[in-house]
């Protein structure tokens, strides 16, 4: 212990008496770490935003009846032809009802499962929005609006009014922003709908919804489940879609497969629905880490150079230390400690700088029509990245210091003393 205190004393004296070089070396690490923190925070913030834009709103599993041709044609079931190759041309899809058969028991079954965070039954109704003599094509989503908000953050995209307003209103509707603009209506107005079967409905606008994706905002609206069932002229066991959110997104794929077999309906999991998003995130992360690593590598070379120079200057000191009884290992430790002190100081400064700039970015206004809920640039302040950055700083400085320190270890004091 005594030994280490002596070594620490020597190291810190070296560093303090060469303040300029020490500061230069530390700043190299500082900028490397700060850049890492800023890049990672900003990139993952952006990733989170983009993922949130689609993934948060997408159910982990979506159950519905898909219209497809029957997989087995009658000829396949006919025994005499079972051995032969059958060709059937122009197969037409089978007529299916769009309601999910036995929806309520399925919902109850799902709600009891531990891995399920929530289940939202939905009725999707095709309608026409009537504005004067013009009819606009559209969809009405009948949902339990409060559940939908809890699980899929719908509230974030309701730019006027709130989910609660809809929950309270019997014949309310939250209209897509594009639709509202086209029909020049706003909150409190009445909108006329006709359904496919020709029935007329009047609903009161209690909110405006803007997802940022024009093709959705131009057609889609939200109502309560009951309202949508009434539009379809159906009773309250009429459900066309079930959206499931899980606690662990990774379970979505196997569970979707199981549900499909168990209930004989179509189940689409989030991964197959949104594969491209994950790829995008992965590549952005890869770029972030590659750039940060390069920066730290440059900082590492800086430290390597400065320590090498220091050791050249300190040849005499090394010889004296060795002559007076410091072992090669002691001398190596002295220079390694110097490298690590540079790493710690530079790293901590880097964390502070990185955090400050991240806060600055977090407060920079960033307004775009596509993302109505975003007012500033998104930044992720995950403490894990700060721990990571600091470890990164320690490891690079240790590696950068190791070679010069090993050289100092093997310096022969006799050669130095003779050389004078």
């Amino acid at each position: 212990m005594m030994d280490f205190r002596v070594i620490l004393g020597i190291s810190s004296t070296h560093l303090l008496s060469r303040m300029k070089q020490t500061v230069t070396a530390s700043l190299g690490v500082t900028f490397g770490i700060a850049a890492f923190i800023i890049l990672v925070s900003f990139m993952t913030g952006l990733n989170g935003l983009l993922d949130g834009l689609v993934l948060n709103r997408t159910p982990h599993i979506h159950l519905y009846n898909q219209i497809t041709p029957s997989k087995q044609q009658p000829v396949d079931l006919f025994d005499p032809f079972s051995e032969s190759e059958n060709f059937v041309h122009s197969i037409k899809p089978k007529r299916l009802q769009s309601r999910i058969h036995n929806a309520q028991p399925i919902i109850n079954y799902l709600k009891e499962r531990e891995e399920v965070k929530g289940v939202v039954p939905q009725v999707i109704a095709q309608v026409f929005y009537v504005s004067g003599s013009i009819e606009l094509n559209g969809l009405v989503n009948g949902v339990d609006i409060l559940e939908e908000d809890r699980l899929f953050n719908l509230g974030d995209y309701i730019v006027e009014g709130s989910p609660r307003d809809l929950a309270k209103a019997e014949n309310g509707i939250i209209l897509g922003a594009g639709l509202a603009r086209k029909m020049s209506v706003s909150i409190g107005d009445i909108v006329q709908l006709t359904t496919a079967s020709g029935d007329f409905f009047s609903l009161k606008i209690v909110g405006i919804y803007e997802s940022g994706l024009a093709e959705i905002d131009d057609v889609q609206s939200y109502t309560n489940l009951k309202t949508a069932q009434k539009l379809m002229g159906q009773r309250d066991n009429y459900i066309t879609d079930i959206n499931i959110k899980l606690y662990d997104i990774d379970l979505a794929v196997p569970m979707a497969e199981r549900l499909e077999n168990q209930f004989g309906i179509t189940a689409v999991d989030i991964k197959s629905a949104n594969a491209q998003f994950e790829t995008g995130s992965d590549i952005r992360n890869l770029i972030t880490y590659a750039v940060s690593f390069t920066l730290l590598l440059v900082a590492g070379f800086g430290i390597y150079n400065i320590l090498n120079m220091l050791i050249y200057e300190k040849m005499n000191d090394i010889a004296i230390l060795k002559a007076t009884g410091f072992s090669g290992l002691d001398v190596k430790t002295i220079f390694l400690v110097e490298a690590i002190i540079i790493g710690i100081c530079g790293g901590l400064l880097g964390l502070i700088l990185g955090y400050s700039v991240s806060v600055l970015i977090d407060h920079t206004p960033f307004e775009t029509e596509a993302l109505p809920t975003i007012k500033t640039y998104p930044v992720n302040f995950d403490p894990l990245y700060y721990i990571f950055g600091f470890l990164f700083a320690l490891i690079t400085t240790f590696l950068a210091g190791y070679l010069p320190a090993s050289r100092a270890e093997s310096i022969d004091p006799v050669e130095i003393i003779r050389g004078q």
């Binding site: 000191d317 010889a319 002559a323 009884g325």
Partner: protein, 225 residues
Amino acid sequence: MSTVLRAENINKYFREPVLFHVLKDISFSIEQGDFISIMGKSGCGKSTLLYILSTMDTDYEGKLYLNEELLSGRSGSELSKVRNANIGFVFQFHYLLPEFSVLENVMLPAKKLGRKPLAEIEADAIENLRLLGVDKHAHKKAYRVSGGEKQRIAIARALINEPAIIMCDEPTGNLDSKNSQIVFELFDELSSRKKLSLLVVTHDEDFANKTHNIITMEDGRILSA
């Protein structure tokens, strides 16, 4: 009186640039309280011998004993400990750590030894500096004192661990006659009063003549002792 340092048949070769036999069958011993100088022309191998005796150079043949313990063949870190505890050094060039204070320079070997608490080491160091008449510089940085003073500080450092022997390589090599005289008197007093053994490599004939014994070397051999 006991034998402090004993060398038996030491041979040393330089391999670069060509094989060269530097030291040939060197054998001699130093008793406690001896004040011995080694003289000889440049290139006769006297410095080389000193580095072997100091344990810093381990590339030789033969046997070296310190306090009757064999040192030849021990590992580098063991020899570091031996040097730290038993051997004091004074070089021609002052070899202080320039960024450290004079006091720290003197304390460093004792801190490394770690045998005494810090306060006691500091008291010892100040006492040594006082003995050598440089205690007023204790808190200056080492690069700010004069050459003669540096040499005396180096001696104070060599004494801090109460070594068995002090080895000097041209200790008065670049000192004026007044400072050389001061250094000689210090050594003389240490050997007679403290029974410290001293081995000094020197070109300075006046200095050598005043020591107890002169070893003369030529072409890697001891001519007379």
